[in-house]
């Protein structure tokens, strides 16, 4: 009997279209025999969307940290003043 993580791995390869023809045929047959598998595919796709959402959120936090440092540390005064000058009304 296959472990659950190996089924998760199969679902992942199915979602990303990385299965070779033989594996894909076996998986299609499995889909017919196990109605619950469709459900797993749908939820796993949502899991991937959530991981992307998480990744983007973390990256935005990293970018914001850099922004705060550049616009508050004396070391980058020249840089921040130069930028602010662009937005100063004459």
């Amino acid at each position: 009997m296959k472990t659950s993580w190996s089924e998760t791995e199969q679902v992942d390869r199915h979602i990303s279209g990385l299965m070779d023809t033989g594996d894909a045929l076996v998986f299609e047959a499995k889909l017919l025999l196990e109605p619950g598998l469709h459900d797993k595919i749908q939820w796993q796709k949502k899991a991937h969307l959530l991981i992307a959402q998480y990744g983007r959120k973390q990256l935005k936090n990293e970018i914001e940290t850099v922004h705060q440092k550049l616009f508050s540390s004396p070391q980058h005064n020249t840089f921040s003043q130069k930028i602010r000058c662009f937005f100063t009304k004459p």
Binding site: L49, L50, Q58, L59, I63, E64
Partner: protein, 178 residues
């Protein structure tokens, strides 16, 4: 991973982002200020451009380093013009496609919040693999696995955990089902 931000290793991600910021933000800010934009608008546009730049370079699996700054500036200008068009201030921007896919799910933030508390290590592992697409050997080392095999097994166990959590939470947050 041949990516300007990932390439230099985890500890130096901040330095890589800083370097891109110092090089590319001044021309972007000048461009947006000339178009009548504010400092906050320039910041928003530039941050979105950095995210797109990062995702595109991860997807391409190669450095865009021949002219990475120009590429980043181009994305930012594109985003600014698009925003301009949406505000009805410009009418001729045909051919500009939408470069960023909306990945946000309804109720996703609430589920994310839960997962960050209940299984942040899993989320970090999955992010490294799927979002940053770091090599498995690097992931195994960073997360303290004995090798790529155990990192792979753990990755799928985590994916399964996230999948089941979403399914379970969807019963609570009905809008997630839509």
């Amino acid at each position: 991973m041949m990516n300007a931000i990932n390439d230099v290793g985890k500890l130096n991600r901040e330095e890589a982002i800083t370097a891109l910021y110092l090089k590319a933000f001044p021309p972007v800010a000048r461009y947006i200020s000339r178009g009548g934009g504010s400092f906050d608008e320039a910041k928003d546009v530039f941050h979105d451009a950095l995210v797109i730049y990062y995702e595109k370079s991860v997807e391409a699996k190669q450095a865009i380093d021949s002219n990475e700054t120009a590429y980043l500036i181009g994305i930012a200008k594109h985003l600014w013009l698009k925003r301009f068009k949406e505000n009805g201030q410009n009418s001729d921007l045909e051919g500009f496609d939408q470069p960023i896919e909306d990945v946000e799910l309804p109720a996703g933030n609430r589920i994310l919040h839960f997962l960050e508390k209940a299984g942040n290590k899993c989320m970090q592992l999955l992010k490294s693999f799927y979002y940053d697409q770091l090599p498995l050997t690097d992931i195994a080392e960073t997360f303290g696995f004995s090798g790529i095999r155990s990192a792979t097994v753990q990755k799928y166990k985590c994916l399964e955990k996230v999948r089941e959590t979403i399914k379970q939470k969807a019963l609570t947050y009905e809008d997630f089902m839509e």
